[in-house]
């Protein structure tokens, strides 16, 4: 319990840093921020009103305090394009982005870990070089380009995938919202048509994301498997006559996965960043495409809300990874 509190405290500086940076970004708008927030067609009176509303005529520190209290109250500004508050827009779209990101992560882990094990058990073989080449290629592929290629091959040429237009087929009604995750919601509703339709829509974009983050996961699995496989307790296990399978999966892999967990932080940074690009390619109605639409329309409050929510999400994910690590590796608790 004490340890969890300590981890929470360690995440605090990052949280503060994130809020300071986003504050600076809101005030760094070129020219007059008030004019930007009021929109291009605003009258001078409207601009002046926005200025007092934003408190731009007050001292910087005071502005920062009111920025923080506004954030805490859930007042993240208003989207000019939709007229809705930014926070409700983001809330409505977040599940779509999260479902895509998490599905991508699950796909990536379930491919990368076996690949890493494969490479580690046969170092310097053709398999090893093949995995290395594949992962280097994966991390070199611009996600927006991979996405387009997959669309061309699997939608246009082969006709296996549905058209890249959103979360669910236009002819299938979406499941009633409980969690906002279509897969979970359709399971709750027992609607298997919707389940299948939403999985079909997810596979290509999630696969695009997964390909991009294969490299760090597979490489880390390989490196840590190599380390574990050459350690004493593996030699003992082998000498005791345990089957290679038991040694590999029960003994080696479980210990090797711990360092892989630490790379998840970087993996999430990649995932959340490339999520924006993938959402644009697949017309995915998440917070990324919302941010891009707002950017194009020079609507800045949603963009800043997007950056802030992504950063908060990332801080939270890192905290969860940290907690999971402490829970899985009792040695950390002992070191205190």
């Amino acid at each position: 319990m004490k340890l969890i509190l300590k981890r929470l405290l360690l995440a605090l500086p990052n949280l503060v840093g994130v809020i300071v940076v986003t504050f600076v970004l809101t005030r760094a708008l070129p020219g007059d921020p008030a004019a930007y927030f009021a929109g291009a067609a605003a009258t001078p009176e409207a601009v002046a009103q926005v200025r007092t509303q934003l408190g731009l005529d007050r001292p910087m520190f005071e502005q920062f305090l009111s920025y923080v209290s506004d954030l805490a109250k859930g007042d993240w500004g208003v989207s000019l394009a939709t007229g809705q508050s930014v926070i409700s827009e983001l809330k409505g779209r977040l599940p779509a982005s999260l479902e895509l990101t998490l599905f991508g992560l699950v796909l990536a882990v379930s491919v990368a870990v076996p690949l890493g094990v494969l490479a580690a058990t046969r170092p310097n073989s053709a398999w090893d070089h093949g995995v290395r080449a594949l992962t280097t290629a994966g991390v070199s592929l611009p996600t927006f380009f991979t996405g387009l290629l997959l669309v061309y091959v699997f939608y246009y040429k082969l006709g296996w995938a549905p058209s890249p237009s959103g979360r669910i087929d236009a002819f299938v009604s979406s499941p009633p919202t409980v969690t906002g995750f279509y897969i979970i919601d359709s399971l709750i509703a027992g609607d298997f048509t919707a389940l299948w339709a939403s999985i079909k829509q997810l596979i290509l974009p999630a696969g695009t994301l997964a390909l991009f983050v294969l490299a760090p996961l597979a490489r880390m699995t390989r490196a840590s498997m190599l380390g574990v496989l050459s350690s004493d307790f593996i030699r003992t296990a082998r000498a005791s006559g345990l089957t290679p399978m038991t040694v590999l999966y029960t003994y080696a892999l479980r210990n090797a996965l711990l360092p892989v967990l630490t790379t998840l932080g970087m993996v999430f940074s990649f995932l959340l960043g490339s999520n924006v690009l993938v959402e644009k390619v697949f017309a995915w109605p998440g917070i990324g495409s919302f941010a891009i639409e707002s950017l194009v329309a020079s609507d800045y409050a949603p963009v800043q809300g997007f950056v802030l929510s992504m950063a908060l999400l990332y801080v939270l994910l890192n905290l969860l990874i940290d907690l999971a690590y402490t829970w899985l590796d009792p040695r950390i608790a002992l070191e205190g």
Partner: protein, 279 residues
């Protein structure tokens, strides 16, 4: 890093040699691109709009009838220019701050580590988006944003490398010989941390190109009709679902090749400098 070792590493991993050759080709394209390109990149009479690859237009033409082959070649200079400027900025600032922080420690170390941590607390591409959106939608700001998100990597490598050397024998000797700290940093520490920094530069170049292309793909930075790989892929995106694959494929493939080249070079350089770190 003598020649014998260099040859040995190349023999062990021939892919690295390939990456160096590819890099040379890209540099030539960036320098002599305008001389090589058969058409003007903005000329909309290079062929019929949306013609597939042919003898006249090797990579086909886009919706305006511009020659994609010429545009891909011309774009090399802009893409490499953006990435190189960004990496240079983060290399110079990051390694100076990192070196100083690792050497002296103290408040400078604490503040700079805090700054690096704060940058890393963001998903980096998202931070770059936010910076460009806030500073204004120009190529210059794409360069600054890319430089900022790469800064922590240089700061950390330089800090760690300077820190392990600050009490080394040769530093003590230099100090006893009457060199002041700044001189020791510049003449004795900096040259020694260059090799690991170069690995970082090479890996970062690929990343910087990807990042800049990603930003222009979503409409930040470079604007049409300028030829840039990311924008060209974005322009081709709408034609993918109607089967005109060449508009997006060629710029995307060249972009991928460039990033691949830098990543392979980075891996190769790391093998050259420190074979144990290979993963």
């Amino acid at each position: 890093m003598d020649m014998k070792h260099f040859k040995y590493v190349l023999k062990e991993n021939p892919v690295t040699g390939f990456a160096f050759v590819l890099f040379g080709l890209f540099v030539l394209l960036a320098i002599f691109g305008p001389l090589i390109a058969p058409f003007d990149p903005l000329d909309s009479n290079a062929g019929e709009p949306l013609t597939p690859p042919s003898a006249q237009n090797w990579f086909g033409t886009d919706s305006f009838g511009r020659d994609i082959f010429s545009r891909v070649i011309i774009a090399t200079r802009l893409d490499f220019g953006i990435a190189l400027s960004a990496v240079l900025i983060s290399f110079i600032i990051g390694s100076s701050i990192g070196c100083a922080a690792g050497f002296w420690g103290g408040w400078l170390d604490r503040v700079s580590s805090r700054v690096a941590d704060t940058i890393m607390a963001f998903p980096l591409f998202v931070l770059a988006m936010g910076i460009v959106a806030a500073l204004g939608n120009t190529v210059g700001n794409v360069i600054y944003a890319t430089a900022i998100i790469n800064l922590p990597f240089y700061m950390r490598v330089a800090r760690a490398e300077a820190n392990v050397r600050r009490n080394a024998g040769f530093i003590e000797a230099a100090r006893l010989a009457g060199n002041h700290d700044v001189r020791i940093l510049a003449v004795h520490i900096f040259p020694n941390i260059l090799p690991p920094m170069m690995v970082q530069v090479s890996l970062n170049m690929g990343w910087a190109i990807l990042n800049a292309a990603g930003l222009s793909f979503i409409g930040l930075g470079v604007r049409p009709p300028e030829a840039e790989w990311g924008i060209m892929v974005a322009e081709g995106a709408t034609y993918i679902i109607s089967g005109e694959w060449w508009v997006a494929l060629f710029p995307g493939a060249v972009l991928m090749l460039a990033v691949f080249c830098f990543n392979l070079m980075g891996d190769g350089l790391r093998d050259l400098i420190d074979p144990r770190r290979r993963t």
